[in-house]
């Protein structure tokens, strides 16, 4: 099992982190929520066109870079760090799945996903039925649904692709304003076979969410530690107080454990996908819980300023909760891991 970046991955991480650090601010994240589709179109064009990040999971023959999910995960940790307001996670997971599914579906959708002219969303939790090559039913709270051109839909236990134009997509208000969601209704919408097990798709999505949560949690801890070093009360930086230091130390342990777990899940997805049924939900459960805890502590350790709309802490706090409650709640994932590992 590999936990550290290869030289190429390290270089990719540096480029992406540097770029996002310069171009994504909390103000821009907030502003994107009001844009059509709920994302930052200019940022998306640069990430796909200039940096070529959307091409990573797409085979070269279909206009991609022929990299893989390990490289996608490098990007996800960095987009998570700044809450980049683009539908990268949905698109990259969808492209990864399409790349290992039916060639027809891959040829139809991957070139557009590779160059960023098309965007994808994942509707894996709906009540959707498949009949005569069409799907019917509703999927609620589909992340990045309003921006999507193509939807990968769970139809019982398999995965199909549906053009957004063939479905009713309705944006919904979200507690977490950093990730837009939509309710999608299918009425005999034409479905294109992808033929990837829907459970595998869900576990890959969970892995992606885990990785993204690690980047975000890492930022929240770093920002909190930086604040404790500069905030002075009682004539000293409050980071000197052991009550606060110990809480940060506990968070550091949690974040390290989450990073290791997320990377184990990425390795599993790439090298041992049969084991992702356990490791995917395990990683999402652990990393989302850590993310939630870190953001709650971020607010507390910042004191009053952390409770304001102006401060970035609530953006992360709300993203943590939406990460925790989608693609399986903590309790659901615990049960799933217990059953799949043969414990209960």
């Amino acid at each position: 099992m590999e936990f550290t970046d290869s030289p190429d991955q390290a270089a990719l991480r540096e480029v992406v982190r540097d770029f996002l650090g310069r171009h994504v601010t909390p103000e821009r994240v907030r502003a994107a929520a009001a844009e059509p589709g709920g994302y930052d179109a200019a940022l998306w064009m640069r990430l796909s066109g200039e940096l070529g990040l959307t091409a990573l999971p797409v085979p070269e023959a279909l206009g991609g870079a022929g990299a893989g999910f390990a490289e996608v995960a490098v990007v996800l940790e960095e987009t998570g760090r700044v809450l980049a307001p683009v539908p990268y996670l949905s698109g990259a997971v969808a492209a990864t799945l399409l790349a290992c599914g039916e060639p027809d579906a891959a040829r139809q959708f991957l070139p557009g996903l590779a160059d960023g002219t098309a965007k994808a969303a994942l509707a894996l939790d709906g009540e959707v039925t498949l009949e005569d090559g069409t799907v019917s039913g509703t999927a609620r709270n589909v992340a990045d649904g309003a921006a999507a051109d193509v939807l990968l839909v769970r139809a019982v236990d398999t995965l199909v692709a549906v053009r957004a134009a063939d479905a009713d997509v309705e944006a919904v208000g979200t507690l977490d304003q950093t990730r837009p969601r939509a309710n999608v209704t299918f009425r005999a919408s034409p479905a294109i076979t992808v033929a990837v097990p829907a459970d595998l798709a869900q576990d890959l999505l969970r892995t992606a969410l885990a990785v993204e949560a690690v980047g975000a949690a890492d930022h929240c801890l770093a920002a909190t530690v930086a604040y404790l070093k500069e905030r002075v009360q009682f004539g000293r930086p409050i980071g000197q107080f052991q009550a606060l230091k110990h809480r940060c130390a506990d968070l550091a342990v949690e974040v390290e454990s989450a990073r290791a777990t997320a990377r184990a899940a990425v390795w599993t997805a790439v090298h041992d996908p049969g084991s992702l049924a356990v490791v995917g939900p395990l990683a999402k459960r652990h990393c989302a819980d850590v993310f939630m805890h870190v953001t709650a502590e971020m607010i507390q350790l910042h004191g009053g300023i952390g409770f304001t709309w102006e401060h970035e802490a609530h953006l992360y706090f709300k993203r943590a909760k939406s990460t925790q409650l989608t693609a399986g709640t903590p309790a659901q994932l615990r049960r799933l891991v217990g059953e799949r590992a043969g414990l209960i």
């Binding site: 230091k245 130390a249 049960r335």
Partner: protein, 391 residues
């Protein structure tokens, strides 16, 4: 839980080698030692385990990471992990020579003179000389620099007075490495020396401490004009603090992988009990069992990710992070073990004979205290990894 699926070719062959050696040697007189001497049972089968230590030495399984010129095998970090995993998987008994192998040996390799290495390393490598650690004192626990044991050099010998405490295996050890104040004019970290003291002498008195388990793994050691040879000081006199800390700086926690195999066995026993008595049907117990299993996976991933990097390339807080994960995890497993038993978990045998679950429940309270309490670990992480200011 094992990593054998991912071994490189050379590592796989090495795994086979240690597996076959253990299978061939953990037989006959040693067969009865399988599973013995673990946490809460360090007092069990000690003479037999001393004999086993020598067998390990004959197989050259001690000091496997040490340089070849010092009698080691110079094995890679990954192969050392494999050794510990296979050792634990085979249920081989808890070591009695680990203090010499993992603490004194590396200290001598870093700070000892050629004469000291030649004199003391072979005894560790052959399992013929056992060591205990003389650091903690009644008034120097977490605050180790407060040690009061003093030593004076007179007529070519160190004369030692004072008391050490929480000394594992002192009653079976041949030697003790002692942190003592040799310069009474100095304070705190200065003026301490790292002395090598023979245990078999009139000035050394060992008294077992009865723990809350009712058993004794730890001792008090009293020095009343105990003697050490003038040459048996590691590093310069007065430089003992640096010598003691240098070992901690290179400790890569390789044995934690063997420890995790032990944790996995303990978890399996708790799970088996919950299945046998129907406890698993209780949703709360079932949830805690799954959480324990997940926690063990997370612990393993974290240990692999953090300890596997070369020393000197990181802030050096990896072992602290792993300790803060495993110690509370182990405590929770101990609590779960007796909760699974229900009311039956309150009954003990004659002479306070404890079940494995009860032993786990009680002994694991020490996990968050020894080797640096959780609070000390948090200080280290806050200051060294996060750079928060000292109070």
């Amino acid at each position: 839980m094992g990593g054998q699926d991912n071994d490189a070719a050379g590592d796989a062959a090495f795994r086979d080698e240690i597996r076959s050696w253990l299978a061939a040697n953990l037989t006959g007189e040693f067969a009865a030692l399988v599973g013995k001497g673990g946490p809460g049972r360090e007092h069990e089968f000690v003479p037999e385990r001393i004999a086993w230590e020598r067998r390990l030495g004959e197989g050259r399984w001690i000091g496997i990471g040490w340089p070849q010129q010092d009698g080691g095998r110079e094995l890679s970090w990954q192969q050392q992990v494999i050794f510990h995993e296979e050792y634990a998987r085979a249920g081989a008994p808890a070591r009695v020579g680990h203090i010499g192998e993992q603490l004194l040996g590396p200290t001598l390799l870093m700070c000892g003179t050629p004469q000291q290495r030649a004199r003391f390393l072979p005894g560790i490598l052959t399992g013929t000389e056992l060591w205990c650690q003389g650091y903690s004192e009644p008034e120097a626990g977490s605050d180790l620099a407060a040690v009061k044991t003093r030593a004076v050099l007179r007529e070519g010998q160190w004369h030692i007075h004072g008391q050490k405490v929480w000394t594992s295996l002192a009653q079976f050890s041949d030697w003790c490495f002692v942190l003592a104040r040799t310069d009474p004019g100095e304070q705190r970290h200065r003026g301490l020396s790292y002395l090598l003291v023979p245990m078999d002498q009139p000035g050394v008195d060992v008294r077992p401490i009865v723990q809350l388990t009712g058993t004794s793994e730890f001792n008090e050691v009293f020095f009343d004009d105990a003697r050490a040879a003038e040459a048996d000081v590691v590093g310069a006199p007065g430089d003992g603090w640096r010598v003691a800390m240098s070992t901690l700086a290179v400790e890569r926690g390789v044995s934690t992988f063997g420890q995790q195999q032990g944790f996995a066995r303990e978890f399996e026993a708790v799970l088996a009990q919950a299945r046998a008595n129907g406890g698993i049907a209780d949703p709360d117990l079932a949830a805690r069992l799954v959480d324990a299993w997940i926690g063990l996976r997370v612990l393993r991933y974290t240990a692999q990710a953090t300890l596997g990097v070369p020393a000197g390339t990181t802030p050096g807080t990896e072992a602290n992070i792993v300790k803060l994960l495993w110690a509370p995890w182990h405590q929770r497993l101990g609590e779960l073990a007796v909760d699974v038993l229900g009311a039956a978990g309150t009954e003990v045998g004659p002479d306070y004979d404890l079940s494995d679950a009860q032993r786990l429940f009680l002994y694991t309270r020490s996990d968050t205290i020894y080797g640096g309490s959780n609070e000390i670990q948090r200080n280290v992480i806050a200051e060294r990894l996060l750079g928060l200011p000292r109070g």
